[in-house]
């Protein structure tokens, strides 16, 4: 799966979770930019992304996610 496809799949996950069809994620998007992205929903995002892409994030990796770009790079690396 290439990066544009991953962004489009991630958009789907975020739009569903936040019931907001206008979400368009970019590499720079952070929790500040999405209404409702609190610590509770942060975990939901992690679990949903793991399920969606069939990957698993390690404890340390989750700690170091700064923005959506980081997450996409991890997904690319893990899904080969």
């Amino acid at each position: 799966m290439d990066e544009p496809q991953i962004y489009s799949s991630l958009d789907e996950v975020f739009r569903e979770l936040f019931d907001d069809d206008n979400i368009n994620l970019t590499p720079e998007t952070t929790a500040e930019d999405v209404d409702g992205w609190d610590s509770f929903n942060h975990l939901n995002i992690i679990v949903a992304v793991e399920m969606k892409f069939g990957v698993r994030f390690e404890t340390a990796e989750i700690e170091h996610l700064a923005n959506i770009g980081d997450m996409v790079r991890l997904i690319v690396a893990k899904s080969g």
Partner: protein, 643 residues
């Protein structure tokens, strides 16, 4: 987007509520809530809750319900609204939407309350607490395993470990008493998740203070305590045994957010809680309505006939249908009503129940049979009316997606599981769905379970009988014999090809070979079925005899299931073989023993039955003769009949 599936859910579909049908326009339907009035909105919400969902959809549906209907249930709901307090020692917030949505699935309005992190004891004790203000009418104690095992220490000896467990149990019991004294309501205790890695290994039980061992012991003790105290158990440990720990518990999430149950498992967690509370309200399903063709047996009885349907031993598929029937029968024995809804001529539909030897379900097990050419929704209405139960008490199982969808559309209150195409998987699917969740078995349920006791009674009788003949007489055995026939063909061939121990010659037969025996005027093939006062043992022995040129009848094949050893079936079988040989005009019956690595147990078979030794080959095969004219039937303790 398609519902999400965790890796665990891909192999174990119960986590994704796989018995619920997919709703393709789920998100679009969710958006129509705003335009519906309260009653219609509630019906839409219930419909949405009854489609397959992941935890994200669960959250969305709960949010939509909150937005549309607010904090109060719509007027006129039949089910009593539930005020559920969830008390625990770690993060449970993410489970509450799933609990509320699972209640919605059953048409019940749930309001939930989560006590502050680890403050459950103070909140229970303090009359001014938020918990007291909430006034729950059900309390769920959902402690994480780390909390329950906080006093476990691998250095403890057995007495210390036992004392630690007793202290934990005493604490739990105190919580139950507090909750019940204050709120006068049902209490549910969650079993501990077995999250601890073993310290010894296979024989973990030998380390008294091992958290893994103590968790297992606590869960056993919780069963006893829940009986004593009238508390209901949320058996997460049983789910972990089915789904695997990884499906329920993710150590990463535990360390990060103290979520012991993973969000991915939340939909199933919520359903387990809601189904118990629904059962308390008497809102579990009561009746299993079964289709026939390709549901209870393979094939179409009207086209394939009694001999053509796939049912019973001899094929994997046939055994799967038997297993499904057995599961249905077991459900009926604990009180679930069985009904049949089939597009068939009634005479055809009844034929297997009355005449197929491998049918586990008999006519007497089915409370209501609707077999005709009307549409199934009409027939299901008729079944509910005849049984005098609500349509919302029915579960309808049909292999045909068309019929399932028709019934869902016409009768949305009927549960129609999206059963797997493979009948082997259907019993677990029905169990996972929890339709028939029951918190106790009533005396009324038990009355239907007389047969359930059969095996126990048989074993008990054997223990109490003073001598073998009186035991055998008390079994009231009936040996039913039949010539080979097409209905029994699969089982005959299967027995011939898998029997190794009680098998005199170990000759294998294909179906064609067995058919050839049926057509040969100089041969006979006998299939023997043994019944006793406790039930039907099925076809347990096969004999094939063939007349040779010299007029003697040679016993080509004699085999028996070891399950019926010691019941003098051998003696009874011999008298049948003698009678068949006599019909062919034979004067002598010849028995043959061909030794193999496995059939040493029948080495002296013919000698014991009074045959005379004739000859032995260098490889150890032997022949034995019996003079038919001089044959006197030995004593045996069963009735023999053709049938």
């Amino acid at each position: 987007m398609e519902p999400l599936q965790s890796a665990a859910a891909r192999t174990n579909s119960s986590l994704g509520l796989s018995w619920l049908p997919e709703m393709p326009a789920w998100s679009a339907e969710l958006k129509t809530l705003a335009d519906a009035d309260d009653v219609a909105a509630w019906a839409k919400l219930v419909g949405l809750a009854n489609s397959r969902m992941d935890f994200i959809r669960t959250i969305r549906l709960d949010r939509a319900r909150q937005t549309r209907l607010g904090d109060e249930p719509p007027a006129g709901l039949a089910a009593i609204p539930v005020r559920l307090a969830v008390l625990g020692s770690s993060t449970l917030t993410h489970l509450l939407p799933a609990i509320r949505v699972a209640a919605l699935r059953r048409g019940i309005w749930f309001t939930t309350y989560e006590a502050d992190f680890g403050q459950y004891l103070q909140e229970l004790a303090d009359p001014c607490s938020n918990l007291h203000r909430f006034r729950p009418n059900t309390v769920l104690f959902a402690f994480d395993a780390a909390h329950l095992m906080r006093n476990a220490d691998p250095a403890m000896n057995a007495a210390e470990a036992d004392a630690a467990l007793q202290a934990t149990l005493a604490h739990l019991t105190e919580c139950w008493h507090l909750a019940r004294d204050v709120f006068r309501c049902p209490v549910i205790q969650q079993a501990a998740l077995s999250i601890f890695p073993p310290l010894l290994g296979n024989n973990e039980h030998r380390l008294p203070g091992s958290p893994a061992r103590m968790t297992a012991v606590l869960n056993t003790a919780l069963r006893d305590a829940s009986e004593r105290e009238g508390v209901d158990l949320l058996a997460l440990d049983a789910r972990v045994a089915t789904d695997g720990l990884a499906a329920w518990y993710d150590p990463t999430l535990w360390h990060r957010a103290k979520q012991e149950v993973s969000p991915a498992a939340a939909p199933l967690y919520g359903d387990l809680v809601a189904r118990m509370i629904a059962a308390r309200q008497g809102r579990s399903y009561k009746c299993l309505v079964l289709d026939l063709d390709n549901t209870l047996w393979g094939g179409v009885i009207g086209d394939d006939g009694l001999e053509g349907i796939v049912l019973g031993q001899g094929s994997a598929l046939g055994e799967a249908f038997v297993a499904l029937q057995s599961y249905a029968k077991s459900l009926s024995r604990r009180g679930v009503i069985l009904a049949v809804c089939s597009k068939n001529d009634e005479a055809n539909a009844l034929l297997p129940f009355d005449q197929h030897p491998e049918m586990v379900l008999k006519r007497g097990d089915i409370s209501c049979i609707a077999a005709n050419w009307d549409d199934k929704a009409a027939n299901i209405r008729a079944i509910a009316k005849q049984l005098n139960i609500g349509l919302d008490a029915l579960v309808f199982v049909d292999d045909n997606p068309f019929e399932r969808n028709l019934v869902r559309r016409e009768l949305p209150m009927v549960a129609v599981p999206e059963v797997p195409a493979d009948p082997a998987l259907i019993p677990m699917c029905l169990a996972d769905a929890g339709y028939f969740e029951s918190l106790a078995v009533t005396d009324e349920d038990r009355e239907r379970t007389s047969q359930y006791q059969a095996n126990l009674a048989r074993a008990k009788l054997e223990g109490s009988a003073t001598d073998l003949p009186s035991y055998l007489r008390s079994l009231e055995m009936r040996l039913l014999w039949r010539r080979f026939d097409r209905v029994g063909l699969q089982r005959i061939v299967q027995l011939i090809n898998k029997s190794n121990q009680f098998n005199l010659t170990t000759r294998r037969y294909t179906e064609e070979d067995a058919l050839a025996v049926m057509d040969d005027p100089l041969a006979f093939g006998l299939q023997l079925r043994l019944l006793d006062r406790f039930g039907d043992n099925g076809v347990i022995a096969i004999v094939i005899g063939r007349q040779s040129a010299d007029g003697d009848v040679l016993i080509d094949t004699w085999l028996m299931s070891c399950r019926v050893l010691g019941r003098q079936v051998e003696e009874a079988t011999l008298s049948l073989a003698v009678a068949e040989a006599g019909k062919l005009g034979a004067r002598r019956l010849i028995g043959e023993y061909i030794p193999t690595a496995k059939n040493g147990m029948v080495k002296d078979h013919y000698n014991k039955l009074g045959f005379t030794f004739l000859a032995e080959t260098p490889t150890g095969s032997s022949r034995h003769g019996l003079d038919i004219g001089a044959f006197a039937a030995p004593e045996f303790f069963m009735e023999i009949a053709e049938g």
